[in-house]
Symmetry: C3
Subunit: 424 residues, 3 copies
């Protein structure tokens, strides 16, 4: 599939997922995973309410059927059916009539962005509320309003899903995207779409690493997964979010700062010519917070375009499908593809003939005509691999130190390994 | 006491101490400590002449009653009574008449600063001499002069004093200032004054560390103290000198270069907005030379305003009480206060819930309303402390890495410790 | 000998050696070593064809008596007698007549430098060929040509030579220069000349290190030497090449990058005021490739003027004796002299009186007149040596950290060692 075609298909997936009301639990998540499951076989996991997961407890499941604010004439002035953003996430049920003054305490707006509806939640403090445009609120006359949130908070399950692309080794690369946000396109339907198409691409060939794709609600979902799995298999990872806006790509390093994924991403971004930003780790943002907590301290970075909370449309109704583009998603997908190609090929070798240079010429690896100063890049790459392959340097080290393209270095390593001159 | 009031009081102390003739031993030092003792209870130590102290020996005690050069008419053209600088420190007694030509060999002037009297000593080679302005010397007619140094060099004692502010732990912070210079205000009466008022401030609250203030003659005094004390209690320290001139503050690092005091001072100076200079260690200057000698290698830096030998008034009669200001001394005092506040609060903690983030919300430490991107600084600080508290990072590390104010980080640590989430 | 005189003598040596047809084996090498042997006693080594040396085998010996291309009229249009560059190095014998079209496959030119004859070899693939100017080739009419290479490839020897200047310790400094290039002045007759005069200079005094000068063919010669010698004695080394062109001096670091020779060369070049370039190691260039192969990983750098392949005359007939100058060779010699003076004097000492400063005054090492701020450089140097001599810092570390000249630091160390205050 061409990049352009994949971009269009990912955008179509974003549009399909957009109307669903996702949260950290509930049927919106399940419906989302059902649609993703049409693209990729998923193992869906259901974890019961009350399950202890690390320092947390799986919360009650939240489902919602309807929610509105109606004026005295019965006209719905705020309606969940129009956008899942209108209801405060995890709102407890309510059905009352109250004056606007009292209602105001339950209303969330963005006074500085008066036409936009904010995204707000209250997962762990029982509340109800509505989110609406400041302009809508300003237009409401005083008087009594009927408020209704037809929701259920009850014991149930937290739902997440996995897809595993088996590799030649059991060491895993974790690609994680959060599934808990309602009608927000960049955050994180674009990430879900890129993860899905990336998994499909990887499955077409057997990669070196085993790739595990995780679709889980933010924070408690990642924590649930960490509590229930053999985390030590995860050698590298990427949190995918905000993967579709028009901004340049941003890589945020793992807490370790020099994990292999950090170096691979830097190399790929710097040598690709893409405009990009590389940021140090901060303990804020998406689920890298959990993967990089000091007890786990995994080599997991975060790939976005414009980063977390870095654009005015962030967590508002302006983060709609028009805010993300096929081209941007195709580019995010390409960055992942390029990075994982390096990651899968990166090795530490040991020169088997480390005393003096081995005679490459008699193995057909060196130009027999001497005296020329324009040593071919392939020969130079072999000399670099031989020089640095003392067991402490990886091919990525060789590429960075020599300034040669990683592919050239990888090809040199293949040739030398074929000649028995280096061993992994 | 306000900073301005403290500045005025410190300046008054400088003016009181200024006329006394201090040296590395003798009654001038005792009189100085008597006056300081009016501000602060001191433990005065007397170490006998001949005592072996490290590679040195406590010298004979020097006392001086009078010294002058008188012309043929009996008129004193150079008079110790006018300034203690006029006599070469540790001059042996002399009472002779001699022609100017012979006298010249015993005269010290500053040809490039012809109106100023230099400060000169000869502690370890027995000499006598006078210091005077070049202009004074130039005005002397040829002829015979009576020279008199009514001094005593005899077995006695070297005198130094200590004041200890007990802390909650026995680990000590050493604040050291040299007391051996005669009528020089910035070098080092200002340092003595700042140390004294700093000690009084610290005594008003029980600090975390134990603070030891040392008033001792330069070089041999510090060496005597080092020879007689349990140096291993000293975890941090500051040599205070040149603490009152109008220049910006200068911190000179310890020999280690990355001692905790070095990092604290850098942080305080960089975040305070003060103009300042931070210098690498050199084995020259004040008693940091001794504390940082390679055998001890203490984490002791040096705080001055314009540093050692860095101003034209240095070691001349122009270093008088007008050369130092109440504001400058108050500012030096404030730098010490701010630095010790950080030093006393700086700790390494260990996150007790390092696997994933602990659920701060249920402990009342996290805003229950989700979706907002303007995470409060206090919450961010808690996440940073949790992320970095793996036993290897201090709160100062957290402040520097996060860019958050140290106080915010300290408050976050207090909150987390209160919730049992981190332990020292 | 003055630098200018040495420069002229070195240039004379270059001119004498220039006409000889050197290669990796054969009588041209022997004749070269005979001439060098007039300046310096050499131990000449002959290693038989077929000897296994590391991953290589000593090749057959190549000798050549005549080679030419003659036109139909019998006129030699390309003649080995005019320049040893005209024959492809290691050409197998041939004597045939063939049309120009067929001959072309055996001709090497430089189309972009049409007046120059390139230098080409084929050591390990049996070929014959000629090198000529593109202009010469362009002027050849079609037709038949007589080609003759009167060469011998037969079992024989590989020849290299050594000269050892014994030092006070057995630890060796290796100075290596390649001897395999035919009529090329900068590459490497200038290196041979500088090495020769350097050895003569060193022999005039007993240096601290033992200096071993190696004259060997490139690659296989260095490999042969490495295979047959106790490499562990080599603590430092320098590959000398391109030592005579008008460009600024270039030092290429050893593979280790922070070997003592690397730091010494940097210090000497930076403090000498010479324009210079310091380059990181690359596994390409001269025999540093072999000495720095990961199994040996010796502290051997490479000193050139314009580096390997860095000038248009490189490996062409334009690299003739006019391309190198007496001044440039004298300057390269001076750099070596200065660097080895530092290397021979650099030591790690341990302060024997590390607690506080030792009393330098009573040992006559410190100005007894106190109070002056213009501490003499010699005193400062002693304080620096005392401060840093904890067994981990060398005198070069002291010079670099203090900013004092190495000679001043060395003199301070001598004084302190004389007083028993430091020990090696």
């Amino acid at each position: 599939m061409t990049g352009a075609a994949a971009g269009e298909e990912m955008h179509a997936l974003v549009r399909r997922l957009y109307p669903l009301c996702r949260s950290i639990t509930g049927d919106g998540v399940r419906a989302t995973l059902d649609i993703v499951g049409e693209y990729l076989p998923l193992q869906v996991r259901e974890v019961p309410t009350g399950t202890q997961v690390l320092d947390w407890t799986v919360p009650q499941e939240w489902n919602i059927r309807d929610a509105y604010i109606a004026d005295g004439a019965g006209r719905r002035v705020v309606d969940f059916a129009a956008s899942s953003l209108h209801v405060l996430g995890y709102s407890v049920p309510v059905h009352r009539t109250m004056p606007l003054a009292e209602l105001r305490e339950h209303l969330h707006t963005l006074p500085d962005q008066p036409r936009l509806v904010p995204y707000r939640t209250s997962y762990y403090a029982p509340r109800w509320g509505f989110c609406l445009a400041q302009e809508t609120l300003d237009a409401l006359p005083d008087g009594d309003y009927e408020v209704c949130v037809d929701s259920t908070l009850a014991d149930g399950h937290l739902t997440y899903a996995e897809h595993v692309v088996p590799g030649r080794v059991a060491d895993e690369v974790l690609v994680s995207c959060h599934t808990c946000h309602p009608s927000l396109a960049n955050d994180n339907l674009a990430g879900i779409a890129v993860a899905t198409f990336l998994a499909r691409e990887l499955a077409e060939r057997q990669p070196y690493h085993t790739y595990r794709f995780l679709y889980a609600p933010g924070t408690v979902g990642a924590i649930t997964w960490l509590a229930r799995n053999r985390v030590e298999r995860v050698r590298h990872g990427l949190v995918l979010a905000c993967a579709g806006d028009r901004g340049a790509v941003t890589y945020k390093k793992s807490r370790r700062g020099d994990a292999e994924i950090d170096r691979v991403m830097r190399h790929v971004l710097e040598t690709s010519g893409r405009p990009h930003t590389i940021k140090e780790f901060t303990p804020y943002g998406y689920d890298e917070r959990q993967y990089c907590s000091p007890g786990f301290d995994l080599g997991v970075g975060s790939l976005t375009r414009t980063p977390y909370a870095g654009y005015p449309e962030y967590h508002t109704s302006a983060d709609d499908p028009d805010f993300v583009t096929p081209d941007a998603m195709a580019d995010t997908l390409a960055v992942c593809r390029e990075a994982f190609a390096v990651l899968d090929r990166n090795r530490r070798y040991v020169n088997q003939s480390p005393y003096g240079e081995p005679q490459l010429g008699r193995r057909g690896l060196y130009d027999p005509l001497g005296g020329r100063s324009d040593a071919k890049e392939a020969q130079l790459a072999m000399l670099w691999v031989l020089s640095m392959s003392d067991g402490t340097h990886s091919l990525l080290d060789v590429a960075e130190r020599s300034g040669l393209p990683f592919d050239t270095v990888g090809a040199a390593a293949d040739a030398l390994r074929g000649a028995g001159l280096i061993k992994a």
